[in-house]
Amino acid sequence: MSNFINLLIAGLATGAIYAIIAIGFTLLWQTSQTINFAQGEFVMVPAFFILAVLNLGVPFWLAILAGFAISAVVLGVLFKKMLVDPMLRHGVLPLAIATMALSIAMKESVKEFYSAEAQPFPSIIPAGSIDIFGVAVSLQSVGVLVAAIAGVIVLNLLLNGTSLGHQMQATAQNPSVARIIGIPVERMIMLTFLINAALVTFAALLVTPIYLAKFSSGEVLGLSAFIAAIVGGFNQVRGAIVGGLLLGVVDNLAAAYVSTQYRGAFPLLLLIVIILFRPEGLVGRTEERKV
C-alpha cells in the first residue's frame, strides 16, 4: 500500500509537469495555430541556459531569473518572429514540420555546444521525505506537485481573473472579432508565446533535477505533453491538466505493475484509444470542420 501511494504521488508529480508543458502547447495552438513539435526541446533548453549562467559563477536564484529572461527572448520572441510569423501563412502542416526541424537543431546544438553527457541540475526543492497518512513520501514529488499546482492556479487567475486574460481568450476564440472590438491581437499572440516560454522554463526547473539535463530528454517530455494535450482535449486548458495527471499516473503504475519493458507503450495505447473513441479528448469540445 505504501508503495502504491508513493507511485501515485510520483505519478501525479510527473503528470503535473506534463500538464504544465501541455498547457503551453495548447495555448500556442489556440492563439496562433502553432503545433510546436519542439515543445519537449523547449523544456530541455532552459535547463542548459540556467546551467550556462551558473557556470559564470552567479548564485542559483539569479541564474534562474536569467534563465527565464533568456527563454523569453529565444523561445518566445525569436521563435515567433523568425519561424512562426513567416511560416503561418503557409498553413498548419508546413509550420509543424518546421518545428520538427527546429527540434533537431536545438537537440544537436546543445549536444555540440554544451555536452552530450547528462548534467546534474540543482533542485529548488530540498531532498528528504515527509509523512503522509503514515507513509513516507519523497519530498521532491510532493514539492513538484505543489509547485506545479501553484503554477497552474496563477495561470488560471491570469487567464480568467484579469482583463488581459480575457483579451487573450477573446483572441484565441475569434481573432477577427477581437480585432474589431479593439483588442491588440498581435500583442496578445506575442504574450501567449511569452507565457509558453515561462511555462517551459518553470517545467524545466521542476523536472530537470529528477531526470538530469540531457540534450535528448526533450523527446519523452514533448511526446508526453502532446499525449496529455490530446487525451485531455486539445482546445482546453483544463483538458491539458486532466490529461497530464492521468498520463503521469498511468505511466507510473503501468511501469510498476504491468511491464517495465513496455513502459513507453501505455501512454501511446491510451493516446490511440482516445483518438479512436473520443477524438475531442476527455473534457474537450469538438472542433468544427470547414469546407
Binding site: F37, A98, L102, A105, E108, I230, G264
Partner: protein
C-alpha cells in the same frame, strides 16, 4: 513537340544514363551511398503518395522500413528464404498494417494524425527492441546476405547497387501508373478537399485507407533492400528519427511532386557526406537549412524551381506581348 518537353526527356535520359554508367567507375563507399539513396527514395516515394498526393501526414514510414528490414533479416538468416520471396510478403504485411493505421486517419486529421502515427512508430520500435525471440532485441541481426538472383550474384557492391536501382525503377513505374490512374486523381481530390471529394461520389474512406496502405507497402519494400545493404540491423536504426528523416526528404524535395522524393532523398543522403568537414555540426546545419527552405518555399526545392520557371515564363510572355503591341497598333492604323 514543345522544347520544354524535349529538354525534360533529354535531362531524364542523361540522369538514367549517369545512374547506369557512373557507378562503373565508383569506389565501394560511393556505391554504398548511391545504393542507400535508391533504397531511401523508395520509402520516400511511398510517403509522398500518402502525404503529397493524398494529403495524410505520417510519421511512421521509418517503422515500415523497419518491418520490411526485419522481415528480410529474420526470414533470410533464420529460415533461409531467398530475398526476392520475402518481398511480396513484406509488402503485403506493411500493406495490411498500413491499412489498419489508416483507420485513425478516417476520424482525425493533420496534427492528430501526426501523433497517432508517431505513437505507432514508437510502439514498433519497442517491439523491435523487446521481442528478443523474434528480433534478437538490442543485439540485432547480423550477416544478412545479399541475394543470388537466377545465378546472378549480388554480393559485391556494384551488382547490389544495380539491384537497388532496378527496384527503384520498378517502384517508379508502379507509382507513375498509380498517380495517373483514377486512384491517383482520387488521392488528389482527397488532399484538396475531402468533403467535396465525398460529395462528388469518391469513396474517401476507402481511398484514405488505400493511400496509407500503398505508402506503407513501399516502406516495407524499401526495408527489404535496406537489410542486405547494411547487412546488420538493430532497433536503433528504426526510431522516430528515421521516420522524421524520410518525412523531411519528401518535404525538402517537394511534397506532391513526382520527382520530389528523388531530390529530397539525394540531399538527405549526400549532404552528410558533403558536410563531413563540419563534423558534428552537420545536423544543425541541415535542420537550419530545412527551416530556411520552408520559410521561402513550403513546397520544397521542386516547388521553388517550378515557381521560378512559371515566373520566367509569364515575364517572357508579357515581354513578347509588349514587343508585339506597337506593330499591332501600326497595322490597325494603316
Amino acid at each position: 513537340m514543345k522544347t520544354t518537353t524535349l529538354i525534360s526527356i533529354g535531362l531524364g535520359l542523361a540522369i538514367v544514363a549517369a545512374l547506369l554508367i557512373m557507378p562503373l567507375y565508383m569506389a565501394r563507399y560511393s556505391l554504398y551511398i548511391l545504393s542507400m539513396w535508391a533504397v531511401m527514395t523508395i520509402a520516400a516515394i511511398g510517403l509522398n503518395l500518402t502525404l503529397g498526393y493524398a494529403g495524410q501526414i505520417s510519421l511512421a514510414q521509418g517503422a515500415f522500413v523497419g518491418i520490411g528490414a526485419y522481415a528480410a533479416g529474420i526470414l533470410t538468416t533464420a529460415h533461409g528464404w531467398p530475398l526476392l520471396s520475402v518481398l511480396p510478403l513484406a509488402a503485403l504485411l506493411c500493406f495490411v498494417i498500413g491499412w489498419g493505421l489508416g483507420y485513425p486517419a478516417l476520424r482525425v486529421q493533420h496534427h492528430y494524425l501526426a501523433f497517432v502515427t508517431l505513437a505507432f512508430s514508437t510502439l514498433a520500435f519497442l517491439i523491435f527492441r523487446n521481442e528478443e525471440w523474434l528480433t534478437k532485441g538490442v543485439y540485432g541481426i547480423e550477416n544478412i546476405k545479399r541475394p543470388i538472383i537466377f545465378g546472378w550474384n549480388t554480393f559485391r557492391p556494384l551488382p547490389f547497387y544495380y539491384l537497388c536501382l532496378a527496384a527503384l525503377a520498378v517502384t517508379t513505374a508502379l507509382t507513375w501508373w498509380i498517380v495517373h490512374s483514377p486512384w491517383g486523381r482520387a488521392f488528389l481530390a482527397l488532399r484538396e478537399n475531402p468533403l467535396r471529394a465525398q460529395s462528388l461520389g469518391i469513396d474517401t474512406r476507402r481511398y484514405t485507407l488505400m493511400a496509407f496502405a500503398i505508402g506503407s507497402a513501399f516502406g516495407g519494400v524499401s526495408g527489404v533492400f535496406y537489410a542486405p545493404l547494411v547487412e546488420f540491423i538493430e532497433p536503433g536504426a528504426f526510431t522516430l528519427a528515421l521516420s522524421l528523416n524520410i518525412l523531411l526528404m519528401v518535404i525538402v524535395g517537394g511534397s506532391g511532386f513526382f520527382f520530389g522524393p528523388f531530390v529530397g532523398a539525394l540531399i538527405a543522403v549526400l549532404l552528410p557526406e558533403w558536410l563531413r568537414f563540419t563534423k558534428g555540426y552537420y545536423l544543425i546545419l541541415y535542420a537550419v537549412l530545412v527551416m530556411i527552405l520552408l520559410v521561402y518555399s513550403p513546397k520544397g526545392i521542386l516547388g521553388f524551381i517550378e515557381g521560378w520557371l512559371a515566373d520566367r515564363r509569364t515575364r517572357r510572355a508579357s515581354a513578347t506581348r509588349a514587343a508585339a503591341e506597337p506593330s499591332l497598333r501600326a497595322e490597325t492604323q494603316s
